[in-house]
């Protein structure tokens, strides 16, 4: 399933186009359905945090190796693409099947201009953490008032 979502600097994020909104709703329905049917947690959920100088994005990608993740920063958008396949046992019988293969593309609208050269990412234990620094020219500056 291909999903995208946008966010802005405000907690109640806005969406830039109706398709994004539809997608968000579908995703929520999908998650509610999964919760109701299996009581299990969805994959590739994303959190983002920021302070004045940096943005931290974490995404749950269980079973995805670093080779199957690609991260791009273009303009004011950070994109994360990841996929996982699940190999069924050659022989045997399923007793329960809740985990799903996925192919996901998430986009995060950056709250400020970033210096993409400073971006770092680590994929560890199925958790991707991406950190980007605010561009120096975009940081707030204090302007000293001169005595007249």
């Amino acid at each position: 399933m291909l999903t995208t979502s946008h966010l802005s600097g405000s907690p109640s994020y806005w969406t830039s186009d109706p398709f994004t909104e539809i997608d968000r709703v579908l995703r929520a329905v999908d998650r509610a359905w999964l919760d109701a049917s299996a009581g299990a947690r969805d994959s590739s959920l994303l959190n983002a945090y920021h302070d004045n100088d940096s943005l931290v994005v974490t995404t749950e990608l269980p079973g995805v190796s670093a080779n199957d993740i690609s991260i791009q920063i273009v303009g004011d958008t950070l994109s994360i693409e990841a996929k996982r396949g699940l190999t069924a046992p050659a022989e045997g019988r399923w007793l329960r099947r809740e985990r799903r293969p996925f192919s996901t593309a998430r986009t995060v609208q950056l709250p400020f201009r970033v210096d993409s050269n400073t971006a770092t990412a680590s994929a560890k234990d199925g958790l991707l953490t991406v950190t980007v620094k605010r561009a120096a020219e975009d940081r707030p500056r204090t302007v000293a008032i001169q005595a007249s």
């Binding site: 979502s5 966010l7 802005s8 600097g9 405000s10 907690p11 994020y13 299996a38 009581g39 299990a40 947690r41 969805d42 994959s43 959920l45 994303l46 959190n47 983002a48 945090y49 920021h50 302070d51 100088d53 940096s54 931290v56 974490t58 749950e60 990608l61 269980p62 079973g63 995805v64 190796s65 699940l86 046992p89 022989e91 045997g92 019988r93 399923w94 007793l95 329960r96 099947r97 809740e98 985990r99 799903r100 995060v108 709250p111 770092t120 680590s122 994929a123 560890k124 234990d125 199925g126 958790l127 953490t129 950190t131």
Partner: protein, 132 residues
């Protein structure tokens, strides 16, 4: 033993909270399959390292607990939140023919795989009928 390294560069590298901390519990997604030799359980535990997993068998009930590394929000402001830091907990009743003494488990990229072999004496045996 896994050591958390304090580095100055990352703003909020996720860290594993202490066992006492009161994280809420969520149910992880699992796959379970069996063949004549074993039952295999695979669970999605994103953010959980090998050291963050606890597997216990008590009175025929297998319980998995996974404590993930979480971002210390500190001065950070959440701007988008689809999941809340939570501990993964799930229990299963084991069939009588499983050998809970020789359970094996490993973690790969946040996926826990547990193998529960069947007891040798429970595997089907072929009994020859002897001519009288």
């Amino acid at each position: 033993m896994f050591q958390l390294q304090k580095k100055s560069a990352p703003v909020a590298e996720p860290t594993t909270p202490s066992k006492e901390s009161s994280l809420p519990s969520v149910t992880p997604a699992v796959d379970i399959w069996e063949d004549e030799h074993r039952v295999v359980v695979e669970a999605d535990l994103p953010g959980v390292s090998q050291e963050g997993v606890e597997i216990s068998v008590h009175r025929g009930v297998l319980t998995i607990t996974g404590t993930p590394r979480v971002v210390d929000e500190g001065k950070l402001q959440p701007i988008y939140r689809e999941y809340r830091p939570a501990r993964f907990v799930r229990s299963f009743t084991l069939a009588d023919d499983l050998d809970d003494q020789s359970v094996t488990a490993k973690m790969t990229d946040g996926v826990l795989r547990i193998e529960l072999p069947r007891r040798a004496d429970s595997k089907p045996r072929r009994i020859e009928v002897q001519a009288a």
